[in-house]
């Protein structure tokens, strides 16, 4: 286990460490609040995510996690600084660069008038690729992969449970074979059992696809279980970064192992040490 302050990011032990998959350089973000004053949400933030790494942004509500994720997705432009995806900024890379990213929202964000199958095919449809030979195969592969049986494919989101909706949402994010998966508290609304099942599903997908994941959560157990590293955020800054290296595979048993408890205690202590904001 290694615990390092984030101000000088620790070089990753994974391959391609020289060229991070995703990088934030001095990113700052200001919003104008309702009273007309500028409010700094992110402050000169530096972050490097290596290829294949699962990085969790952990912090209290309102610390800027979701804003950072939206900046990484290119949905928001930072007031200052740069976001580089595989060494290229969004201005340089344009649409091709955006195509390498996928986003899973906190709520499943399915279109209620489309069936599950139609929802999952939406990204390919918007990229005008839904009629290609392998599109159908890819959609069906991902629907099956996330655990949705063919009888659910023709259902509308209103007929699905919360967990099934989230599975469809993950399948939709994966049909475009993203290199980077950005997830904004995707399992926050689910119960613990469902959450841990979906955590395992996500780990399986990431292992197979070898994609890089930036995962936002405020659940410490989930953060420790899922991550290769945890970045603790508070008041718009990355205050600490914890590297997680389990010796045993991530299975149900891992959660009750002494190793897991140690990481949990470290992450928890780090969170409480760094979080100074009240609400």
């Amino acid at each position: 286990m290694s615990v390092s302050p984030h101000d000088q990011p620790t070089p990753s032990t994974k391959p391609n460490a020289a060229q991070p998959e995703l990088e934030c350089r001095d990113v700052a973000m200001e919003f104008i609040n309702s009273r007309g004053f500028a409010e700094q949400v992110l402050k000169d933030l530096n972050l490097r995510v290596s290829s294949g790494e699962i990085l969790t942004l952990l912090g209290p509500s309102g610390c800027g996690k979701s804003t950072l994720l939206r900046i990484l997705a290119g949905l928001l432009s930072p007031t200052k600084g740069d976001v580089l995806v595989q060494g290229q900024s969004f201005q340089q890379g344009g649409r091709t660069l955006k195509d390498r990213l996928s986003f899973v929202f906190q709520e499943p964000a399915l279109l209620p008038w489309r069936t599950v199958w139609e929802n999952v095919s939406l990204p390919l449809q918007l990229r005008r690729k839904q009629k290609t030979a392998d599109a159908k195969e890819s959609i069906e592969h991902w629907l099956a992969m996330v655990g949705l049986s063919p009888k659910d494919w023709s259902k509308k989101p209103g007929q699905l449970s919360g967990g099934m909706k989230m599975r469809a949402s993950i399948a939709r994010a994966m049909t475009t074979r993203p290199r980077i998966l950005l997830m904004d508290e995707p399992f926050a609304a689910l119960d613990d059992v469902l959450r841990s099942r979906l955590n395992d599903l996500l780990l399986k997908i990431v292992a197979e696809e070898k994609c890089t994941v930036v995962f936002v959560t405020h659940n410490i157990t989930e953060a420790v279980y899922m991550s290769d590293s945890i970045a603790i955020m508070d008041q718009g800054k990355l205050s600490e970064r914890l590297e997680i290296r389990f010796t045993e595979p991530r299975t149900k048993e891992l959660r009750s192992s002494p190793d897991f408890s140690r990481y949990y205690a470290t992450a928890s202590a780090s969170l409480f040490r760094n979080v100074t904001s009240d609400e």
Binding site: K98, P112, G158, T176
Partner: protein, 270 residues
């Protein structure tokens, strides 16, 4: 029926029977008052006279109702199409909305009774004028509801389309328009009553000068002949017509919304 049974299963009959009882009591009071007070039939005919007039003029009334229904339905259809197109135009830019929305509100506030004679002058004593009046009076709820439906899109859904670099057209066709359908139907429910009012007002002005003979025309003609019982019969037909159109829209509402989300309300997680 014992009170215990009534508590177990609330009876359905009062829901239908009580309004009928009220209706009969009103009719009876009306009939008796007219007779006892000796009110002249031109001022207020008894309901029995109204009923016999309705029976006597049933075919005229039915034909009139059919013509008015066509005008109101055509007016409603025009406001649904034109109103939705205007709303789509508005949804494209806040500048467009700021520039044109005041005129839409103006359209809502202009008294239709004041401009109807002008419309008659421009378009003649014709079916199309009645449709136009009906359309003008019923278009505002469609524009305002559909515009709000097209604009109030869930932020995550908007971001989902932005992440896929969807263009304006794709976002409109695949996200905004389908999301606005329930709002369009809500607008139609408000507008259908207005469309009937518009058609009848239009018919008042068209009068019996042309070949047109809707319920409004019948009312104006009977007013001229002091046939009050017949006028009341036409008024009852107008009310029933409004109910028919509203029921059609309600059926459409149920059918479309059920198809839209298969009978389940809009997305609610868990």
């Amino acid at each position: 029926m014992s009170s215990t049974t009534a508590n177990k299963q609330p009876a359905v009959w009062p829901k239908f029977l009580l309004p009928i009882v009220v209706f009969l009591v009103v009719l009876l009071t009306w009939e008796m008052l007219v007779r006892w007070l000796g009110i002249h039939k031109v001022i207020l005919p008894p309901p029995s006279d109204v009923a016999s007039e309705i029976v006597r003029e049933r075919w005229t009334l039915l034909r009139g109702a059919w013509i008015t229904l066509q005008s109101a339905a055509a007016g409603l259809l025009c406001s649904a199409i034109i109103g939705s197109l205007i709303a789509m135009f508005f949804s494209q830019s806040s500048w467009l909305r700021l520039s044109f929305y005041p005129y839409v509100i103006f359209l809502q506030t202009v008294p239709i009774v004041a401009i109807a004679p002008l419309l008659i002058l421009w378009f003649g004593n014709e079916f199309r004028t009645v449709v136009l009046v009906s359309c003008i009076i019923s278009i505002f709820p469609i524009i305002s509801n559909v515009t709000s439906g097209l604009l109030s899109i869930n932020e995550n859904l908007r971001d989902l389309f932005r992440m896929q670099s969807a263009n304006r057209w794709q976002t409109l066709m695949k996200l905004r328009i389908p999301a606005a359908i329930p709002q369009l139907i809500l607008g139609l429910r408000v507008s259908c009553g207005l469309a009937v009012i518009g058609a009848i007002v239009g018919e008042f002005f068209v009068g019996d000068r042309g070949a047109y003979e809707g319920l409004g025309t019948i009312i104006t003609a009977r007013q001229g002949n002091l046939k009050t019982a017949s006028m009341i019969g036409a008024v009852i037909a107008c009310t029933l017509l409004g109910l028919v159109l509203l029921s059609c829209v309600q059926l459409l509402n149920r059918w479309i919304l059920r198809r839209w989300t298969q009978g389940v309300g809009f997305e609610s997680d868990n």
